[in-house]
Amino acid sequence: MTAREQTEAYEDIPGTWVFDAQRARQGYHLNEFLYSLMKAANRAAFLANEAEYTRRFAMTEAQRTAVLRRDWNKLLELGGVSYALAKLAFTDGKSYQYMASRMTGMTEKEYVEMMLHGGRSPDGWRSRAERQGRA
């Protein structure tokens, strides 16, 4: 499979933004911002004035807006990687599990319940065609 075909195949997986080299390129400054939240002093500075803090990084306006809105799926689409996004969730005092539940549109409680029942079945989620067939 060529690199190009690989990218097309990634896009065929529903509900998923694969963090490939092109998306990583678009998300570079966004992810560097998220990485900065590993330091307690930076977390405090961000929480004190979110908009101002984000201007230290060369993000696009769309990325900046998505950060301020905690628009998790938009952040994935614009090149954020989930492990870096988790640092924004941690800064808010939330967990991976909370962040994942927001991405699915469920409440955290509903999400935990789904996981306790064996998680989401891959059936109907393997490809766009499979998804449409189920919808």
């Binding site: 690989q6 306790l116 064996g118 989401r120 891959p122």
Partner: protein
């Protein structure tokens, strides 16, 4: 001669570390998981390895996106515990084995694996959670550790085949080290899981079971799994399982399965554990 005597496959779910660190292992959600790891812990205590090579991935802690090494070998004397955003885990620092690590680098590069040499590195849950699961909460870790960080975050990750071949080269490298040492190798991460997007929470137990079977009986079949298949069938983060193939490659042809455990869920992941002794 140094020998790789066994391999351990285990998930490295961060919530497991947080659970131990906060004294919640007895809670109904977690208790069955820790019970399931008891035989592995007992095996580890019996086996008493001198060195553990831990194949894991960093989760945007030691490495940001300035430099993304595909294979990075930790050559330091000691590896501090990373602060991932909620303070470092309260576990002992990880002691390395710089002499053996330098030898591995030398051997692997000559075997055409272009390893990145890392002389200073913090380690995150990817490495410390497996140590906690297998060794509990000691004052000091019972063996020296050589971290091998694999990029599985920015696609493409190395293929399963590449990982398996690296494992074979590691075995050869260890066996050419002139010191009586008992070495084990950890393959960590997985099993099926996805922690991003509307498809988050995906779990595929049949895939995971077949993967565990394959490690034991038919690794060549696993080596042929395409990267896309991991993503599509077992979730975007299931690609971490290629790291288990480094471990399997390092065990030689014949193995005996000593122990297996599988449970859903720990947070968003299917947790798997297997112990294979080299025969």
């Amino acid at each position: 001669m140094a020998r790789i005597v066994a391999g351990i496959g285990t998930s490295h779910t961060p919530a497991i570390g947080a659970c131990v660190d906060n004294g919640k292992t007895g809670e109904p959600y977690w208790a069955p998981l820790f019970k399931g790891y008891e035989p592995a812990k007992a095996w580890m205590a019996r086996t008493r390895p001198d060195v553990a090579i831990v194949v894991y991935n960093d989760h945007v802690n030691a490495f940001d996106f300035k430099i993304i090494p595909t294979f990075a070998l930790g050559c330091a004397e000691e590896f501090p515990i990373a602060d991932e955003g909620w303070g470092p885990r309260p576990v002992p620092p990880v002691k390395g084995y710089p002499e053996l690590a330098a030898h591995l680098v030398q051997s692997l590069v000559l075997d055409e694996f272009d390893i990145t040499i890392v002389n200073e590195m913090q380690v995150d849950h990817g490495l410390t959670v497996p140590l906690t699961l297998l060794c509990g909460t000691p004052q000091a870790w019972p063996c020296r550790v050589i971290p091998l960080a694999v990029n599985v975050i920015q696609y493409p990750a190395p293929t399963g085949h590449r990982c398996y071949m690296l494992g074979r080269a590691i075995r050869k490298a260890v066996e050419s080290w002139n010191e009586e040492l008992k070495v084990v190798i950890f393959g960590t991460g997985g099993m099926s899981h996805q922690i991003q997007g509307p498809r988050a929470g995906l779990i595929n137990t049949p895939f995971d079971t077949a993967f565990l079977d394959g490690l034991s009986r038919d690794p060549e079949r696993l080596v042929a799994i395409e990267p896309l298949e991991y993503l599509r069938d077992a979730g975007a983060e299931a690609i971490e399982l290629v790291m288990w193939l480094v471990m399997r490659g390092a065990l030689g042809e014949r193995v005996e399965e000593i122990h297996r455990f599988y449970r859903v869920p720990a947070s968003s992941t299917a947790v798997g554990n297997i112990i294979l002794e080299s025969r």
